[in-house]
């Protein structure tokens, strides 16, 4: 597959503050790529540099084989879906969507048909005459989306597109954006700080931290094979603890665990396991790789309950799948054992605790 975007050693400094630090990245045509990271990690700055709204301090941006580093936004074949939608308040929905075509000098008749086509695509064909403020938040977002894709850009940039919507609308829009991506076949680059959003929607996720890329991979590999304790805890939840390997065993808050030498490098210093990959057993259970402790807290989520188990020297989280409500939940203070299979323990080279 061909690369539609290539970033070459891209940096952005704001005075003495480094926003983006020497980022190189290729994006394949038709890919749904997500830049994920906490606020201030440089993901939005990176997106804005691709859109042409920030000038890179160093490096190059290649769009479809052309160096666009110094081109202003209006001369780049990329379009942006703005976080606040940025709909023009003085224009109708139809005029908003047709704006990009109009300024490009497209004949009026063609503008009209294409506007209706794309409004139809986002399910708002009947709203062409409405003013933006007459629409709901979700509808406004779809108008902004229609406006951004009507020119068929080579890349669509999405800046925290769902952050302004309320929870259930957000989930619906996640699905819609994915479907739209499949339907129009454009390349999407999305910025978000929401890991669920990133995992749900994208083909590939770039995790950023302090202006740099810390991991780049498919959502599943990111979740199952996090490259660092930071990612392990940023994407999903992980019980992290420090230990040394001695005779193929490590200590989790003082209690021994066997590890799988095949999946863990000998130099690993930080270890972890995910709450849903461990099993909660009764306190008198026998077995290998058990951590024994007491129930310290129970968070009931309906289909699952997250249990905090106090091991004495520390705490771990375990998820309990609730398949049979009659079985009841463990009570505070119950003696329990946490079973974690050796191959489900992850190990990381020493890193500053995230």
């Amino acid at each position: 597959m061909t690369n539609i975007i290539r970033l070459d050693g891209l940096s952005k400094h704001f005075g003495s503050v480094i926003g983006v630090d020497d980022v190189s990245l290729s994006v394949r045509k038709g890919e749904f790529l997500t830049l994920l990271g906490p606020s201030g990690c440089g993901k939005s700055t990176l997106l804005r540099m691709i859109g042409g709204f920030e000038e890179p301090t160093a490096g190059q941006i290649w769009l479809d084989g052309e160096d666009v580093t110094d081109l202003p936004p209006n001369r780049r074949a990329v379009n942006m879906l703005f976080q606040d939608y940025a709909l023009f308040p003085h224009m109708s929905v139809g005029k908003n969507v047709g704006y990009g075509l109009k300024v490009a000098g497209t004949p009026k008749r063609e503008v009209e048909t294409r506007v209706l086509e794309v409004l139809d695509l986002v399910g708002l064909a009947d709203k062409a005459g409405a003013a933006p403020h007459q629409l709901s938040g979700g509808q406004q977002q779809r108008v902004a989306l229609a406006r951004a894709i009507v020119r068929q850009p080579k890349v669509l940039l999405l800046d925290e597109p769902l952050s302004a919507l309320d929870a259930n609308l957000r989930e619906a829009m996640q699905v819609e954006l994915r479907h739209l991506h499949q339907k129009v076949g454009l390349t999407f680059i999305m910025v978000t700080h929401d890991q669920t959003e990133a995992l749900t929607m994208s083909d590939r996720v770039i995790v950023m931290r302090a202006g740099r890329i810390v991991q780049d991979g498919a959502p599943q590999s990111l979740y199952d094979l996090p490259g660092s304790p930071y990612i392990a805890d940023f994407i999903g939840t992980t019980n992290l603890f420090a230990s040394r390997i001695e005779n193929g065993r490590i200590a989790c808050h003082g209690q021994p665990l066997t590890i799988d030498p095949q999946s863990i490098l000998p130099g690993a210093r930080t270890f972890g396991f995910r709450p849903e990959k461990a099993r909660l057993l009764r306190g008198d259970a026998n077995g290998s790789n058990l951590l024994r402790g007491k129930v310290a807290e129970v968070f009931y989520h309906g289909s699952v309950a997250r249990i905090i188990v106090d091991l004495g020297a520390g705490q771990v989280l375990v998820d309990l799948q609730i398949t049979d409500a009659a079985a009841g939940l463990p009570q505070l203070g119950d003696a329990v054992a946490v079973e974690i299979a050796a191959h489900k323990i992850m190990g990381f080279a020493a890193e500053d605790a995230a």
Binding site: N74, M80, D84, A86, F88, S92, G129
Partner: protein, 284 residues
Amino acid sequence: MSLTAAPSTVRTAPARRTSKQLRKAVDAWVWVGVAGLILTFLYIPIVVLVAFSFNTSRSLSWPMTGLTLDWYRKLAENDQLITAVQNSLYVAVSATVLTLLIGVPAALALDRLEFPGKGIFRKLVLLPIALPGIITGISMLILFRLIGFGLSLETVIIGHATALLAVVVTQVFARLQRLPHSLDEASADLGASGWQTFFLVTLPNIRTAVIGAGILSFTLSFDEIPVTFFLTGRDNTLPMYIWSTMRRGLTPEINAVGALIVAASILLILVSVLLQRERPRPSR
């Protein structure tokens, strides 16, 4: 005893309610009275002016002796006065256009651009609004003398535009600050040039502020005396003319001019209200 007590308790509740309603009604009428007094205070002089412009007698004494349009007829024959009105219109329109042409881009620069000394520029550009007209007038007079500029209506225009710049910049800048920058970015993102963005996105959204600042500038320039006094050559503007004739005493002719100005002002206000009214619904 129980027979008399029962009805009395029944009656007190509605009685209390009516006294409360009464107090509310009195309160309301007090406020209507206050509002009326304020309006009377504001508008009585204007009403008197307009009324006496139709009075048959020259003297300004009550009661009026009779109704006539003579003063308006005389006014129409007064060439000096008509020239003064024309001069005033010329000055006010030109000063307004000039100050808008400079002020709107200045406000845009303040809002959208980053440049060294921006903070100082912002404060200095607003300073003339606090400067008395006499200072502006004298200082510009000295400047024009220095560079050998003859005094004329054009120097008055420059003087007015300078003083009015602050009005335009303040109003337009305030509006621009409420306009999200993402609109500009979205416009550029969709392929619009800087000019297209200005005329298709920015200007329509600051339109009402520009019109408002323009009308205010026009009004301020139209009745301006101090700056005009120092900067005009042989030509008279209307306020200058009125002021000079007043030295020979109040005439009903002046009342007639005043009444016409009042009428024109009302017209101007109506126009501005119409222009500034937000369109209820944009067309497709």
